[in-house]
Amino acid sequence: MQTDFAALREDFPILRQKVHGKDLVFLDSAASAQKPRAVIDAMVHVMEAQYANVHRGLHYMSEKTSDAYEAVRDKIAVFINAGSRDEIVFTRNATESINLVAYSWGRSALAPGDAVAVTEMEHHANLVPWQMLRDAHGTELRIIKITDTGEIDWESLEQVFADGRVKLLAVTQMSNVLGTYTPVERLARFAHAHGAKILIDGCQAVVHRRIDMHATDADFFVFSGHKLYGPTGIGVLYAKAEILDAMPPFMGGGDMIASVSYEKSTWAKPPYRFEAGTPAIIETIGLGAAIDYVTGIGLDAIAVHEQTLTEHALAVLPGVAGLRILGAAQDRGGVISFVMKDAHAHDIATLLDRQGIAVRAGHHCAEPLMGRLGVTSTARASFGLYTTLAEIDALAKGLERVGKIFA
């Protein structure tokens, strides 16, 4: 059975909005995705019918809310094929997930002189925490080069690991600038063979592909709810049980303790050890609805649909005079950065916006990558499950107009 993706647009109320009197063509899903009715309804239901603080309540509302909240942990464990629900830690976003690892694992499992390796195409979220760790803790930060096509330079990878001091490979599964997918299974095998752990930034990949912790053998995996059609304010850290068990807490407070006395407090078991204070209850339940929604459609169907979109975009956009697409990875998904000969990225974005077309312009939180690509900023179109071929044609047409203005 073929999924009717055009019909799914009806699930997203915002797509009916007009912008500057034009139909909204939303091509900024890589920054954050729009929300389907099912997610909105789930959050409303919590607030209207079943809400109280979780975990410690002995009354009906608290029990039911705790059940709904904890059920999402199971759901995520299944969604990414984790070994156990206890490997799922709730955070605010992927950024916090990585910082949690850098603070807790980084400062306890790494010694000064150990190295963390990242690639040239990381989001600041997967770079700055390791810089801060370096500056505070004396670890080294090493950079793995990418090729001109925007793929990992395997030779550079081997050099970076050659002296055996790299203890963590922190790498994106899909670049938010170039759309490149990285071969995470192979990278995990490589890291493990070299005595290192691997942290996978799954922010972009989790939206577009089936994720499998068991197959990937990831040590850490992070993503954000808001890019996966879920609410803001909720993110996920997956880590292998034996790693989490050995990690000290990140933040202190309620819910993460076993016992508290002035002299000494003891910590709850993972995942609770890492969840201090009142969690994002409503948002977690909303994320659960988002996961039900995408698994209902099927990640494989979504991947096929988006592959069609991406191929179409890669076919038509180069036809726009003066336009150059950045990166040319073999395995790439629906995130396309480009520059134009005479038009700066900001001018492109502003002019497209007046036609109802939303794209992003700037360094996309990847400044060092901009340097590597020899640009200061790019325009970026990115696709979601609700994106249509017609919208990509509208983008191409809009860009023609931009070209004419600056010709």
């Binding site: 900001h346 001018d347 502003t350 900023s377 600056f406």
Partner: protein, 133 residues
């Protein structure tokens, strides 16, 4: 659309009159926007208020830098600060100011709040250069 990218703006972007590093200058300053990566450096010879610029960024910012250099030519520092203030008002309110001449070409920026900073960036650099004299 023409509200923002008027011919005068596009012309100044493509064919600036005051671009490039002059052989002689007395002060310089750089302003940049962390949000979008735009960056402009201005070179100032206070006698005659002669300003040149190196603008790396969008059309609005580049045009604004060049229009600024034309507008301040021959003025004294106090007048420059007055023009700067009036210009900021024009790009935030969208109301033209007859005293500003060609600078009013950027009045359309007011409709694009996220671009106001592009238009005012060169002025921030110039103010710093003046302070550096």
């Amino acid at each position: 659309m023409t509200g923002l990218y008027q011919d005068i703006v596009l012309n100044r972007t493509r064919h600036p009159l005051h671009a490039g590093k002059p052989v002689r200058f007395e002060a310089q300053a750089t302003a940049s926007s962390p949000i979008c990566g735009d960056r402009v450096r201005v070179y100032l010879s206070p006698a005659g208020m002669d300003v040149h610029h190196e603008a790396e960024g969008c059309a609005i910012m580049a045009a604004s830098a060049d229009l600024m250099a034309s507008a301040v030519l021959g003025k004294n520092p106090e007048m420059v600060r007055e023009i700067s203030k009036n210009f900021t008002r024009v790009v935030t309110t969208g109301e033209a100011d007859p005293s500003l001449g060609e600078l009013n070409a950027l009045a359309g920026v007011s409709e694009f709040p996220s671009r106001i900073g592009c238009a005012t960036l060169p002025w921030r650099a110039l103010e710093e250069a003046l302070a550096n004299v």
